[in-house]
């Protein structure tokens, strides 16, 4: 099985090679890089083009790690213990009637090889990452309450993304293949745009890209990324406007932070005076 990009997703050849290496070596692939460089999208595309199911864990700062494997619905069980289970088909004495599998649990229990995406792992606390380490490395976890081991028959293709909000620990990184996705160069960006817009006016695209990359250079707090560009192009195309430096329509689709917008407006004023 080899991953080769798709009609909706522009795959950088180097990244393609990396995905395939990670699949051969059965190692988790950790993708870092700016928002909007297609980290999450990559996992979805691997699942789509290789016809594998995908399980997604969207990380939050509050998760403990264990619930991504399974949770026990304690409240339901307490309730059943108190009021009975007559019509429900559950058995209060049967632990597994009250287990809700998390994404990792579902991925490990699946009979087919699946893609497991741990999205924005950096949002979790570092001890959570350490807990997940062994789980991901051995592809197994233990259900504490009944001391039963759940082991993956088919090791999932594990993709982990990080926005580098927080540093990941060294042991965690050691278990993974790490790749930093650089922001696409203008030519690569053209190919990405071409996948989303079929009949885009070439003049509009040239002008928009020039402004886009110039804006990125200006050092805004949140520089516009691919998804912002695509939204902006969509708006421009819909309204049939070709932007230039003095006339910047829909700048709010490119710059999201208030300080950035204010800085842009001030910059704009200056350039009009000159």
């Amino acid at each position: 099985m080899e991953f080769q990009g798709s009609d909706k997703y522009y795959l950088d050849p180097e990244l393609g090679a990396i995905v395939n290496i990670a699949m051969v070596m059965e190692k988790p692939l950790l993708l870092t890089g700016e928002a909007g460089t297609g980290k999450t999208q990559l996992a979805l595309e691997i699942s789509r083009t290789l016809g594998m199911d995908i399980e997604v864990l969207r990380c939050k700062s509050t998760i403990k790690g264990e619930e991504s494997c399974y949770v026990q619905d304690t409240v339901l069980r307490l309730n059943d213990a108190r009021f009975g289970t007559e019509a429900t088909g559950r058995d209060v004495n049967e632990f597994f009637d009250y287990v809700i599998w998390g994404p990792i649990g579902r991925a490990f229990r699946s009979e087919k090889r699946v893609v497991l995406l741990l999205d924005e792992i950096d949002k979790t606390e570092s001890d959570v990452q350490d807990n997940l380490l062994d789980v991901l490395e051995d592809c197994e976890f233990t259900i504490r309450e009944v001391n039963r081991v759940v082991r993956a028959e088919k090791r999932p293709v594990i993709v982990i993304t990080s926005n580098a909000k927080r540093e990941l620990s060294d042991p965690f990184l050691r278990r993974c293949y790490c790749h930093h996705i650089a922001f696409p160069e203008p030519e690569a960006m053209r190919e990405i745009v071409a996948l989303h817009f079929q009949d885009l006016d070439q003049g509009l695209l040239d002008a928009a890209l020039a402004i886009f990359y110039e804006l990125r250079q200006r050092g805004y707090e949140k520089p516009p990324a691919t998804s912002e560009l695509l939204n902006w192009l969509g708006a421009l195309q819909h309204e049939r406007i070709t932007p230039d430096r003095l006339n910047m329509p829909f700048v709010g689709t490119l710059l999201k932070r208030t300080e950035d917008l204010l800085a842009f407006r001030q910059g704009g004023k200056h350039s009009q005076i000159h």
Partner: protein, 396 residues
């Protein structure tokens, strides 16, 4: 053996390649993951490089080992180049070959010299990527290292388009190395690690242990017990030295750190001082509105304290009673006493020095830097320094 040497070379360059990495790497080679140099470049990078700040070192080690090109640590345009051995070696050889006049270093503009150096590097990189010209000039190569193909590894000039190897020499990752100076995005990232989780907010999480206990006590009638969830409630105090000539070159860096801290932490307060702290600090950069340092000392001891200053001053400013150089800060107690009190109150505190660590011993302020460094752990304003500072503030 050639590959073993490469792994050792990676370690020399500061890439922490481990034995496990090496074993995995060889297993991958057996599976045929690196049929050509291009794939080897990608596969070895995956196997050994975990942090983006090691990427540049990896590229340099690879260029040296497989392409025979000795890239200096610094990025193009950085005048630090003149202090590198690569530049000196290039200069020696270029003069020896007669391509530059002997007194070039004095007669040519530094920009011109730098450009000539980097042009040679680019020329060499191109020679590899094109595939037509081979570096094997044996000894005449400007950087001395013989570039002949050893161990049967060949450079494949891939059709050119977006080859991963092609980016070696473009130094895309030089900004991320640990010694890199701070910029907006990497500073934000470093500060994001600083947090202090305590139970706060509404009681909206089911406490199962308590629930079972209370329900049992209740004779089986279910009694749900809720607890607060953990939230970040960190408080940060930033003290900035904004006086004196010695801080002038660091204004930009200080401003950057100041704005990032303001953005990152909701409970951050900033005060100013001149050279060192006495009986009061100031709420405004003009140093007009006083805040008695004693008041600062009443803050929650969990507060994270960052002091930003070059700690370079005349020793008497630090050690003597009434040592302050500005009349408005005069104080009967020596500054050292106040610093000790701050450190004692705030266990999570660190002194950030905008002067690079290597230069502390060489600047005129060394005696006072050392004295302050005995009270507060001191770090410099590089990415690595900020990370260590954040570790200290997190109590690691």
């Amino acid at each position: 053996m050639f590959l073993n040497d490469f792994i050792l070379r990676l370690r020399d360059y500061g890439v922490p390649a481990s034995l496990t990495d090496a074993i995995d790497f060889y297993q991958g080679l057996e599976k045929g993951l690196a049929p050509d140099l291009e794939s080897l470049f990608v596969f070895a990078r995956l196997s050994f490089v975990r942090r983006v700040e090691h990427m540049d070192a990896y590229e340099r080690a690879f260029a040296f080992h497989f392409l025979g090109i000795d890239l200096p640590r610094v990025a193009e345009g950085d005048p630090e180049l003149f202090n590198t051995k690569q530049f000196r070696e290039w200069l020696r050889q270029t003069i020896a070959k007669g391509d530059l006049p002997r007194q070039a270093i004095w007669t040519m503009r530094p920009e011109e010299l730098m450009k000539r150096f980097w042009d040679t590097v680019r020329e060499q990189m191109k020679a590899h990527h094109g595939g037509s010209r081979w570096i094997g000039t044996r000894g005449n190569s400007p950087f001395g290292h013989s570039g002949s193909a050893r161990g049967g590894v060949r450079v494949f000039g891939k059709s050119g388009n977006r080859s991963a190897l092609k980016v070696v020499g473009e130094r895309k990752y030089v900004d991320y190395s640990d010694a890199a100076s701070l910029r907006g995005e990497n500073l934000r990232q470093a500060l994001a690690m600083l947090k202090n989780l305590i139970p706060a907010g509404p009681r909206d999480q089911l406490d199962i242990d308590e629930t079972i206990y209370e329900s049992a006590k209740n004779g089986g009638e279910i009694d749900l017990v809720f607890k607060r969830s953990l939230l970040d409630r960190i408080e940060v105090v930033l003290l900035i030295d904004n006086g004196g000539y010695s801080m002038l070159p660091h204004v930009e860096l200080t401003r950057l750190l100041f704005s990032k801290i303001k953005n990152r932490f909701r409970r951050a307060s900033t005060y100013f001082f001149h050279n060192t702290v006495y009986g009061s600090v100031f709420r405004d950069p003009m140093r007009r509105q006083r805040l008695p340092t004693a008041e600062l000392l009443r803050r929650n001891p969990d507060t994270r304290l960052l002091i930003l200053g070059d700690a370079a001053m005349a020793p008497e400013e630090l050690h003597l009673s009434r040592g302050a150089i500005s009349w408005d800060a005069e104080d009967d107690e020596p500054s050292l006493t106040w610093l000790e009190r701050l450190r004692e109150r705030f266990a999570h505190s660190v002194w950030l020095n905008p002067v690079a660590k290597e230069e502390w011993r060489e600047t005129y302020g060394y005696p006072t830097i050392e004295a302050v460094g005995r009270i507060f752990p001191m770090e410099d304003l590089t990415l690595g320094g900020i990370r260590r500072a954040v570790d200290l503030l997190n109590g690691l």
